[in-house]
């Protein structure tokens, strides 16, 4: 298998996985268990994304400037600061800390 073919096959499989969820029959989605847990699944996935993006690099756990940025973001969200401003502020905190040689 050449790398170009691998690239095409992997892309096709990635697309297939994405498409699969959109083709799940409505009857399955209306299953009581699915309806009951849909809100928690959302919370679980979003929290996993936060953890994975903030505290990991590859397969390693790493606490660096992102942790401080996330803490600042949490305070700003708590103070009801607009979403866009918080995202920019988080990036600025991480960039600032790294400029100072930390994280």
């Amino acid at each position: 298998m050449t790398w170009t073919i691998a690239l095409l096959v992997a892309s096709a499989l990635a697309f297939g996985l994405k498409l699969l969820g959109h083709l799940v029959p409505v009857a399955w989605l209306q299953h009581p268990l699915m309806v009951r847990t849909a809100d928690l699944v959302t919370v679980g996935l979003l929290a996993a994304m936060v953890a994975s993006q903030a505290f990991t690099t590859g397969t390693a756990i790493r606490f660096d400037a992102r942790v401080a940025a996330l803490a600042v973001a949490a305070i700003l969200f708590w103070r009801k600061v607009p979403f866009v401003v918080v995202v920019i502020a988080a990036a600025a905190v991480a960039a600032g800390l790294r400029a100072l040689g930390w994280g």
């Binding site: 298998m1 790398w3 073919i5 691998a6 690239l7 992997a10 892309s11 499989l13 990635a14 697309f15 994405k18 498409l19 699969l20 969820g21 959109h22 799940v24 409505v26 989605l29 209306q30 699915m34 309806v35 009951r36 847990t37 849909a38 809100d39 928690l40 699944v41 959302t42 919370v43 679980g44 996935l45 979003l46 929290a47 996993a48 994304m49 936060v50 953890a51 903030a54 505290f55 990991t56 590859g58 397969t59 390693a60 400037a65 992102r66 940025a69 996330l70 973001a73 949490a74 969200f77 979403f83 866009v84 918080v86 995202v87 920019i88 988080a90 990036a91 905190v93 960039a95 790294r98």
Partner: protein, 236 residues
């Protein structure tokens, strides 16, 4: 939250995350891919974690088959997103179905699912998906052309923008006690599982473990659940 606000939210998530494509482009070329191959990966595969996994296997000297297997494993969680997004996006047919499928990634699913209302959720999904698609692909090309010469996006704190954005998206869902439990367990499980499972799989398993924990501490019957959006009907 209004449709316009959801769209703005999606665009800001998209710009922050998409810019990170620079580091993928640079890494892909360093790993030995041609510039056009790096761009093809971002255009066709279009899922950051799987693209990084593919290139990671390549730079570690792995076989093409191993790269396919690893990137696919990392992408398995995407199959759950389409089902979760169904109340917001369906009915989907033809090019809209194919487009929605290609744009189904962490950021678009997160932005869509963060909204309780169908129209805001849909606007958020499409805005985030399209913005990441355009930005990520331009950034991949820029990174691939510049290679290692370009500064790492972490210098600009871009790697902190994504978790902050995801935190903002989950924030509004944390009012109930069992939702808080789910979030905390999910973070803990992600940290515990990341060293032993491929990144995408760790997230999926962590989320499932967290849902079981959240269900275990649910205080009221599901009938009082206001966030369940009906599958049919144009609720706004």
């Amino acid at each position: 939250m209004s449709k316009a606000e959801a769209r703005r939210q999606g665009i800001s998530v998209g710009l922050a995350v998409g810019a990170y494509g620079v580091s993928f482009g640079a890494l892909a070329v360093t790993a030995g891919l041609h510039v056009w191959q790096a761009c093809a990966l971002s255009l066709l595969m279009f899922t950051g974690a799987s693209e990084f996994a593919f290139v990671g296997v390549m730079s570690a000297g792995g076989s093409p088959l191993a790269a396919v297997a690893t990137s696919t494993l990392v992408g398995i969680r995407h199959a759950s997103y389409g089902a979760l997004l169904a109340p917001l996006l369906r009915p989907l047919r033809g090019w809209r179905l194919l487009g929605a499928a290609q744009l189904t990634i962490d950021e678009s699913a997160a932005t869509g699912l963060a909204h309780h209302h169908r129209k805001s959720g849909r606007a958020g999904f499409w805005a985030a998906g399209l913005t990441v698609y355009v930005t990520w692909n331009i950034a991949t090309l820029a990174g691939a052309l510049a290679g290692a010469r370009i500064g790492h996006p972490a210098t600009w704190g871009l790697d902190a923008a994504a978790p902050a954005a995801f935190l903002g998206l989950v924030w509004t869902h944390l009012e109930r006690f069992n939702a808080k439990v789910t979030a905390v367990v999910s973070v803990g499980a992600t940290l515990a599982l990341t060293p032993v499972l491929p990144s995408g799989i760790a997230m999926l398993v962590a989320a499932l473990v967290a849902v079981v924990a959240g269900e275990a501490v649910r205080q009221r019957p599901a009938a009082s659940d206001a966030s369940a959006v009906p599958l049919t009907g144009g609720q706004t």
